[in-house]
Amino acid sequence: MTTRALWRNRSRPQETPDTPPVKPPVAPAPVAPVVPLDIPAGDPLLAHLQANQSGVIDVERLALDSPGVRALRAAGVRLALPLVSQGELVGLINLGQRLSEQDYSSDDRRLLGNLATQAAPAVRVAQLVRQQQLEALERQRIEQELRVARLIQQFLLPKEVPAVAGWEVAAYYQPARAVGGDFYDFIHFPDGRIGFVIGDVTDKGVPAALVMATTRTLLRTTAEQLVAPGAVLERTNNLLVENIPPKMFVTCLYALLDPASGHLTFANAGHDVPYRRTAEGVVELRARGMPLGLLPGMQYEQHETTLRPGECVLLYSDGLVEAHSPTREMFGFPRLQALMAEPTDGNLVPFLLDRLRDFTGPAWEQEDDVTMVLLSAHGDGGPGDGREVLARFELPSRPGNERRAMEQVAEVVAPLGLPQIKLDRLKTAVAEATMNGMEHGNKYDEAIPVLIEVAREGDDLTVSITDRGLKQPIPEAEPPDLTAKLAGQQSPRGWGLFLIQNMVDEMHVTTDDVHHTVKLVVHLIAGGQRGSTE
């Protein structure tokens, strides 16, 4: 770093911004231009200057020939004063001929030597201050860039996970400090199917975030047109190839789930292979394909399977499997696969995160983004599950279909032998919730079904009713009050939610960007009954 500076020829003392003003000559004299001097790095002159600490060098008498020396001579430099601070050459004062055209006296040389000795540390301090200012600016720039990258990513990632009867979706995303290019997305189709996307852009920071934003948009628009995962990846790849910076690419997995049947279709563009947990063990969901954005005209294998109740599929990014322990051991695929096979009480994601933290230790500096998307089919009463799906069906959103919903649910729960009064109350709650879903959620669009799942969870009977409510709350702002209604202060209508709440033991509402699920709970054991005969 001592050699990349621009050495300036001061053929006469004059003010410059870099050095304190030198006392001006008494009489105004013609001002010679400052000639910039470039001394190439590695020039032997530099070594010579550094070795001649604080000595005044007579350029004419230098027993050296190098581009640097020639440049000094050509610029008319007579004396060169190396500025050396703590053994390091930090600058050079160059003097041309004296204005009197006399030679420099030995007094002059001593004075100049002292000047150089005192100026060197001051110049060094100034250089350090300037360097620190530049570094601080650079740090600020990097921080700002990270903030922007994080903002882009967080803005584009889904705010909520899909809430669909019979399924549980969990998502986890933890960006590394440098913000990698991980992303995930959920695409909702009018027929109730849901697309699951997980991807990883090579590179980090703002470039990765911008490519991620582009890929996400391309995937969304393509998925809405083509639906089939293989075709979606193929077209996205062709579109992305033309719009991606060189040496960047995107790995991506796209899976399409039909929640009513559990049917899953998927294709993979070079992303880490998802794991599926089945009763028989943990298996990979393999499909071959090149990452997106590398080469045009790529084909993507498409595979399909049907997820059975109690099964789950984990989509994840390499930040998880490539995490390192303090002893530089890698987390790795076999470990992940083995952990997925372990019985877990609740959600697999917190379990895996705990194991990851155990592995990396508390002082782990996360190397890359860690992303997981878990898709779980509710259980069917397998060992230790405690949950049994009794039925899952769809009904078109047509006025009057709430009666079909209540009759079908009644048929499904008949073997449970609910007391008639309790069954009637459940039927009313189911009808009201279905009606709300068809009317307020699906706007009575027959193409959009309501999804109904009946399940037994331990001592509870649950009925979950899902519509595509698009976050519109059920318009029932205040609890209905008959007196107010009769006095004309409330609409005569607005009894639906009130009825639902009072007909069952519990009611839970969950929503995502698209779906709205009402879960009705009836306690099957007597102790849990609530005022069925008030």
């Binding site: 006025p399 009057g400 009064i421 009313t428 009808a431 008959l482 209604k485 009769l486 639906g496 009825l499």
Partner: protein
């Protein structure tokens, strides 16, 4: 919204007995029943009948919209200084009348005979 996609499964039989307009409801009390109910009510209260009795013994299903219709009916009855009575409710719908406090505004009886006897007794 106006619903006309399905056939309304509702029939109203209206008669006058001892100065009481009796409406026997057969089928489903939903939004589809609005026109039939209001027509029946007009017919039953014809001649400024002071009491109207709704007989729910043929009721197959009533939803929240149906309850809303009863509230509308109650408002009209109050305006015309008429009394509204109901009979023949199943235990389930009786509970719903309790819950919604419709039982405080509509006199409930087990049967038509019981309701008519109560009216006759003044």
């Amino acid at each position: 919204m106006s619903v006309s996609a399905s056939q309304p499964n509702i029939q109203m039989h209206v008669r006058q007995e001892d100065g009481v307009g009796v409406i026997a409801i057969q089928g489903e009390m939903t939004g589809f029943a609005e026109e039939a109910l209001m027509n029946a009510y007009n017919e039953a209260s014809d001649g400024a009948c002071p009491v109207v009795l709704l007989d729910f013994s043929g009721l197959e299903y009533m939803n929240s919209t149906g309850i809303g219709l009863l509230v509308t009916l109650l408002i009209r009855a109050q305006r015309q200084s008429q009394r509204l009575l109901a009979c023949g409710l199943s235990e389930h719908y009786r509970q719903i009348f309790d819950l919604t406090r419709l039982n405080e505004a509509i006199g409930l009886y087990d049967s038509q005979a019981e309701a008519l006897a109560a009216v006759a007794a003044g």
